[in-house]
């Protein structure tokens, strides 16, 4: 039943998200919307690999940056007219990011835990350095992708809808994966990789595929980002904070759940954008993030979504106990059943 309520709530949220440009056409608002949608899919993509498999990557900025540069370089080299046609490069940019993920994963996925985290950071900085020094990336001067001459008030809308389409694709993709055998194998790897190998799971290929799919989605997000802001620089396209942000959004919402990263990004990205616009200090949100995550780690270490589930159960058990006081004869069975039936559902359902 919890699952059905969850799907209901998210259906409403998605319908509302789809209607945002119609309801509130204010460009500031839709601009925040574009970033929020990009981060919702990027956080879901991060969760779809790192959350499911337990391999915490802080280098997903590689794919975001690759996607951003891929769209820009191709659009410029092909002398594409500044029009909506450039959106067709978004999946292509995702594909290029996915291809980059193969050698990246081939190196990084051989090691585990802390070593994996450190290697993803190291590889990230290699890519940032390359973006600074290659000539086709424009070096530190960056590149300017073609900017469409759409009218001011609705300029953001096409970006918004493309980002929304990518988000819907992402949610369906990782929801499907969670229910597939591939998803089961990723979760098995998270719990005990060696045991999974001993049960015939081809762990390296499974991890690699998860990593590549995650890169594909993140690359598409980076491509939309580049086209939307109309410029790519190494320090913003390959931003070290990106990899941390998607991870923290997921931890905030609930790692390993479908709705956790969506909720995390939906709550945090607008705050970040608002603070940046309001106070024109690009890094103010980092302080807020730091404080927020301290609170999350202290009071709900598993993230919002699982904790809300716990509270619901707590309330139900509590109510059952009160009923027990009124009807002592039936009480034991009620409490016992509730505890036994509910504890296991905590992290396994999609909630």
């Amino acid at each position: 039943m919890v699952r059905r309520i969850g799907i209901g709530v998210w259906s409403v949220i998605f319908v509302l998200l789809a209607l945002v440009p119609v309801i509130e056409g204010n460009p500031t608002f839709t601009s925040i919307g574009v970033f929020t949608l990009i981060f919702m899919s990027s956080a879901s993509a991060w969760n779809g690999f790192s959350g499911y498999s337990g391999y915490i990557s802080l280098g997903n900025g590689v794919f975001y940056g690759t996607g951003a540069y891929a769209l820009t370089v191709i659009a410029l080299d092909a002398h594409m007219a500044p029009s909506g046609d450039i959106f067709w490069l978004v999946p292509l940019a995702g594909l290029i990011a996915a291809i980059i993920a193969v050698p990246f994963g081939f190196i990084a996925l051989r090691v585990r835990r802390h070593t994996f985290v450190v290697i993803t950071i190291a590889i990230f900085f290699v890519f940032q350095l390359l973006a600074y020094n290659f000539s086709f990336t424009g070096g530190s001067a960056g590149l300017l992708p073609p900017t469409p001459n759409w009218v001011g008030n609705t300029y953001n809308d096409p970006f918004y809808y493309v980002a929304f389409a990518v988000l819907v694709f992402t949610v369906l993709l990782f929801w499907g994966i969670r229910r597939s055998r591939f998803g089961l194998h990723l979760l098995a790897i998270r719990d005990d990789e060696d045991r999974a190998r001993g049960l015939g799971v081809k762990v390296l290929r499974i991890k690699m595929l998860g990593f590549v799919l995650s890169a594909f989605v993140t690359g598409m997000g980076g491509a939309i980002f580049a086209f939307f802001i109309g410029q790519v620089y190494p320090q913003y396209a390959f931003d070290p904070v990106f990899g941390i942000t998607v991870a923290l959004m997921t931890f905030f919402g609930g790692i390993g759940t479908i709705s956790g990263p969506l909720l995390g990004a939906l709550l945090l990205e607008p705050i970040e954008q608002y603070l940046t616009i309001q106070y024109s200090v690009g890094s103010l949100y980092l302080i807020i993030y730091g404080a927020l995550f301290l609170l999350v780690i202290l009071f709900m270490p598993r993230g919002l979504v699982p904790t809300i589930g716990d509270w619901r159960r707590f309330v139900r058990v509590h109510l059952a106990q009160r009923r027990e006081k009124v009807l002592p004869a039936k009480g034991d069975a009620v409490v016992g059943d509730d505890v036994a039936g509910d504890v296991p559902a905590v992290t396994t359902g999609m909630q």
């Binding site: 055998r181 591939f182 045991r195 190998r197 049960l199 081809k202 504890v343 559902a345 992290t347």
Partner: protein, 254 residues
Amino acid sequence: MTELLVVDGVSKAFGGVQALSGCSLTLSEGSIGGLIGPNGSGKTTLFNVITGYVRADSGQVSFKGKQVTGAKPDQIFGLGLGRTFQLTRIFSRLTVLENMLVATQQQESWLRSVARGSASAAEHERAMELLAFVGLTRLAESQAGILSYGQRKLLELAYVLISDPAVILLDEPAGGINPTLIEEIRSRIIELNKSGTTFLIVEHNMEFVMGLCDKVTVMDMGCAIVSGPPAEIRADARVLDAYLGSVEEADDDA
């Protein structure tokens, strides 16, 4: 009876410690083999070499007449050789039923695993059958992390069984388990053996090993020192010296 599993002169050193030195062993099809020996004699290392978790320095392992020396754990399992671990290893954040499904359908291509559900109706049914077989049906939807130690041992046995392995290596199936549950595990092993599954069991519980196994191999200092029917092993002077020793010591090990 044909020899299903043949270990020939396997050696393995961890730094300066010679865990296995020229260890040889055979396991006949349809039998229940026992492997005993003092702690540190190399029993678990031998299991790890056979199942591909540890690469041997020298020597060979063949299974069903095929060389499997140096094969990876997933390949070994695919050939029909399953194992359990001394310290049980289950997927604690998956449900009991999901644990069962990890090992289903080894034959299919790994890429197809993306495009299919976690279990077909038949696999689901088979998983539930096996859970009933080990008495865990009631807990199918529970998170595996809440299982007791003994229940974990049963679950580990059950999820290895789902792929119908020809041979199962059990590492201390009776260790730390109450007598009733030991009896439960023993009867499951006998039942499976009757339907054709071959077993190799590492165990310190002498009563369990001697009552269950057709042939017992004794290891000491990384070598198989003697091998034979339980009655013979009990009386062997080398075994008494290396492992069984006096009556009191044997009790300690159990």
